[in-house]
C-alpha cells in the first residue's frame, strides 16, 4: 500500500498516467477530510447499492402484488416499513423506487450534459455572432420557470416517466451551456490550444480533445449539485400524477397515494418522502464537498 501511495504522490511523475492518477489521488485525499462530503458520498453509494441489489434484498412480488387482507399494516418483521393501501410492502416499494429515481437522474444527465456542451463549447470557442445567438437562446430558456414548464410539457406529452425526463431535461440544460462557455473562454487563448492549431488540428478536434476534458470536472460538480433539484422536480411531477404512473413505485407518486390515509396511517405517505429527502440531501452534500475540494477549500 505504501508503495502505491508513494508512486501516486511522487512529486516527479515519470508518465502522464502517473501524473493523472496522482492528481486524482490527491483530490480524493482532500475530499476524504470533508466529513459532510463523505456523508453525501455514503448516501449516494447506498442509493446505488439499494437500486442495484433491490431484487436480491426484496421480493419484487411484495412490491407490486396487491394483498388486500394485509393492507395498511403497521411496522412488523414481515413488513419493516408497514404496507400501503393495497397491501404492498412499503420497504420493498421504496427499494425499487430507488431504481426509478436513479434512472431519471441518469437519463436527465445523459441528455442535459451533451446539450449544454453542444451549445456552450462553440459559443465560447468561436465567440462573435455564434456566441451571441447561442447565449440568447440559453438566456431565454434560463428565464423559464422550471417546474411550470415541465408541467406544461408533461401535460402536452402526456403523463409518464419518459416525458417527465424530457420535460426536466429541456428546462435543465441552460446552466451547463453557460458553464461550458465560461470554461472554454478562459482556455481559448491558452498556448496549448495555439500549439494544437499550429499542428493543423481542426476546430472539432481541438474542442473534443483539448477543451472538453478540461470542462468536465466543473460540469460534473455542477451536475451533482443539480441532482437534488432534478430529484425534487421529478418527485414533484410524480406527486402531481404527471411522472411515473401507478403501480410503479415512484417515491413522489407513493407520497401522493399515501395522502388519502395520512391521518390514520401516517407511514404510507411519510416514509417515501423521507427517501426523497435523504437522497437529495446526499447529492447536495456530495456536490458541496466536491466543490469545496475543487476550489481548494477542502
Amino acid at each position: 500500500m505504501t508503495t502505491w501511495r508513494g508512486w501516486l504522490l511522487n512529486p516527479a511523475p515519470t508518465s502522464r498516467r502517473q501524473a493523472q492518477l496522482g492528481g486524482w489521488f490527491r483530490a480524493w485525499l482532500a475530499f476524504r477530510r470533508n466529513t459532510l462530503g463523505m456523508a453525501g458520498l455514503f448516501i449516494v453509494l447506498l442509493l446505488i447499492t439499494i437500486a442495484v441489489a433491490a431484487p436480491l434484498i426484496a421480493d419484487p412480488a411484495t412490491a407490486l402484488t396487491q394483498t388486500l387482507e394485509d393492507r395498511l399494516q403497521p411496522f412488523s418483521w414481515a413488513h419493516p416499513f408497514g404496507t400501503d393501501e393495497l397491501g404492498r410492502d412499503i420497504m420493498a416499494r421504496m427499494m425499487f423506487g430507488a431504481r426509478i429515481t436513479l434512472t431519471i437522474v441518469i437519463l436527465v444527465s445523459l441528455i442535459v450534459v451533451p446539450i449544454g456542451l453542444a451549445i456552450g463549447l462553440p459559443a465560447g470557442y468561436f465567440g462573435g455572432w455564434i456566441d451571441a445567438v447561442l447565449m440568447r437562446v440559453t438566456d431565454i430558456f434560463l428565464a423559464f420557470p422550471r417546474l411550470i414548464l415541465a408541467l406544461a410539457f408533461a401535460a402536452a406529452l402526456g403523463p409518464g416517466i419518459e416525458n417527465a425526463v424530457i420535460a426536466i431535461a429541456l428546462t435543465a440544460w441552460p446552466p451547463y451551456a453557460r458553464l461550458a462557455r465560461a470554461e472554454t473562454m478562459t482556455r481559448r487563448s491558452s498556448e496549448f490550444i495555439q500549439a494544437a492549431e499550429l499542428q493543423g488540428a481542426s476546430h472539432l478536434r481541438i474542442i473534443a480533445t483539448q477543451i472538453v476534458p478540461l470542462c468536465l470536472p466543473s460540469v460534473i460538480i455542477r451536475l451533482t449539485l443539480d441532482m437534488a433539484g432534478i430529484i425534487l422536480t421529478a418527485a414533484g411531477l410524480g406527486f402531481l400524477g404527471l411522472g411515473a404512473q401507478p403501480p410503479s413505485p415512484e417515491w413522489g407518486a407513493m407520497v401522493s397515494t399515501g395522502r388519502a390515509v395520512l391521518l390514520d396511517h401516517w407511514w404510507v405517505a411519510t416514509l417515501p418522502g423521507i427517501a426523497i429527502f435523504i437522497t437529495s440531501l446526499g447529492f447536495n452534500l456530495l456536490g458541496d464537498g466536491l466543490r469545496d475540494v475543487a476550489s481548494g477549500r477542502g
Binding site: 440568447r136 437562446v137 438566456d139 431565454i140 430558456f141 428565464a143 423559464f144 420557470p145 422550471r146 417546474l147 411550470i148 414548464l149 408541467l151 406544461a152 410539457f153 401535460a155 402536452a156 406529452l157 402526456g158 437534488a228 425534487l232 418527485a235 414533484g236 406527486f239 402531481l240 400524477g241 404527471l242 413522489g252 407520497v255 401522493s256 395522502r259 395520512l262 391521518l263 401516517w266 405517505a269 411519510t270 418522502g273 423521507i274 426523497i276 429527502f277 437529495s280 440531501l281 447536495n284 452534500l285 458541496d288
Partner: protein, 330 residues
C-alpha cells in the same frame, strides 16, 4: 435590455404555442365531438385558423396574448383570463407571506452566519439551509398538516377559510386578510391567518434557505473590504459596522436574490397549493391539467413565465439604479 426582455417573452410564447399546437389532442374534436360531420369539422377547423400557415397562427396567438385573451377554459366554461384574475390573489397571498418570512428570518440568519464564520452558529445556519434545499415541499406540507393541524391543532386545516366564514367578506383586493380588515371582520381575519400560516411558513422555509445562504456569501465579501476596517478603526460599534454599513451595501445584491426567490415561490406554490387545497393559481393549473384543459394550463404558464421575466427585468433595473458600476458597459 428591453430587446432581450421582448426576445425572452417571444421565446416563452413560442414554446407555449408549440405545446398547444402540437399536443397529441385534436383541438377540433374537443369542440365538435367525434360524431360531428366532416362539414362541421372543416368549418371549426377553419374557424380555429388551423388552415393558416404556422407563422400566421403564431402571430394570431401572440396578438391575442397581448390583449390578454387566453381563450376559454373547458373546465369552468369561462374566459381563462377571468379565472386567472380570480385565483391569482390567493397565490399572491401565499407567496407574499412566504417571502416576508424568508426575508425577515433569512437575512439576519445569513448576517449572523457570516459574522461568526466557521463557528457553530455558522454550521447550524449552513445545515438548516441545506435541509431547506433538500426537502420536497409537498412532503413537508403533508408532515406539517399531520403534526400541527391533526395532532396538535395549532393551525387551521386545508383551504383558505372555514366554511362558516365563506362569503362574509366582500371581495375587494382578493386577499382575504386585507379584505377582512377593510370591513373590520377580525374573526375572519384570524381564521384566514390560521389557514395561511402553515403553508406560508413551509414555503417561506424554502426561500429562507436560499436567502440565508446568499446573504452569508454577500456579507463575507463585504466584511473583507477596507471600508469595514476603516469603520472599525474610527471606533464604530461592531453592531453598527455589520448591520448598517456592511448590510447596507449587501441590500443591492439581495434585491436580485429576493426577486428571483419570489419567482421560485410561485413555482413552489403549485405543489403547496395541491397539498393544502389552496384555491390559487397552482391548484387551478393542476386541476386544468387533469381536465385536459390546455387553454387554462398554457394561460397559467404564460402568466407565471411573464411574471418571471418581469422580475428578472426589475432586478436588473434596481441593480443598475442602485449600483452605478453596473451601468457601465462591460
Amino acid at each position: 435590455m428591453l430587446f432581450s426582455v421582448i426576445l425572452t417573452f417571444l421565446g416563452l410564447t413560442a414554446v407555449t404555442f408549440v405545446i398547444g399546437r402540437f399536443m397529441p389532442l385534436d383541438p377540433v374534436l374537443t369542440i365538435v365531438g367525434d360524431k360531428a360531420s366532416t362539414e362541421v369539422y372543416d368549418r371549426v377547423y377553419r374557424e380555429l385558423g388551423l388552415d393558416q400557415p404556422v407563422v400566421v397562427q403564431y402571430l394570431t396567438y401572440l396578438g391575442k396574448l397581448v390583449r390578454f385573451e387566453f381563450g376559454t377554459s373547458v373546465m369552468t366554461a369561462r374566459p381563462v383570463m377571468e379565472d386567472l384574475v380570480r385565483v391569482f390573489p390567493a397565490t399572491m397571498e401565499l407567496a407574499g407571506l412566504a417571502l416576508v418570512i424568508g426575508v425577515l428570518i433569512g437575512v439576519p440568519m445569513g448576517v449572523i452566519a457570516a459574522t461568526n464564520r466557521g463557528r457553530i452558529v455558522d454550521q447550524i445556519v449552513r445545515f438548516l439551509s441545506l435541509l431547506g434545499y433538500s426537502m420536497p415541499v409537498f412532503w413537508l406540507g403533508l408532515v406539517g398538516l399531520l403534526l400541527f393541524y391533526a395532532k396538535l391543532g395549532w393551525v387551521e386545516g386545508p383551504g383558505r377559510l372555514d366554511v362558516a366564514f365563506d362569503d362574509i367578506v366582500p371581495t375587494v383586493t382578493g386577499l382575504i386578510m386585507v379584505d377582512a380588515l377593510l370591513v373590520g371582520e377580525t374573526e375572519v381575519f384570524f381564521n384566514a391567518l390560521g389557514h395561511l400560516i402553515l403553508p406560508a411558513s413551509i414555503l417561506g422555509y424554502l426561500s429562507l434557505a436560499y436567502i440565508a445562504r446568499m446573504t452569508r456569501s454577500f456579507m463575507l465579501e463585504q466584511l473583507e473590504q477596507e471600508y469595514i476596517l476603516a469603520a472599525f478603526a474610527k471606533g464604530l460599534s461592531p453592531w453598527r459596522v455589520v448591520w448598517v454599513h456592511a448590510l447596507g451595501n449587501v441590500w443591492v445584491q439581495l434585491v436580485t436574490v429576493i426577486a428571483l426567490t419570489f419567482g421560485s415561490l410561485l413555482e413552489g406554490a403549485v405543489l403547496t397549493e395541491t397539498v393544502f387545497a389552496w384555491p390559487g393559481l397552482g391548484l387551478y393549473m393542476k386541476n386544468s391539467l387533469f381536465a385536459a384543459d390546455l387553454n387554462a394550463v398554457l394561460g397559467g404558464t404564460v402568466l407565471i413565465g411573464t411574471i418571471y421575466i418581469f422580475l428578472n427585468m426589475l432586478s436588473d433595473i434596481i441593480y443598475s439604479l442602485v449600483d452605478p458600476r453596473a451601468r457601465e458597459p462591460s
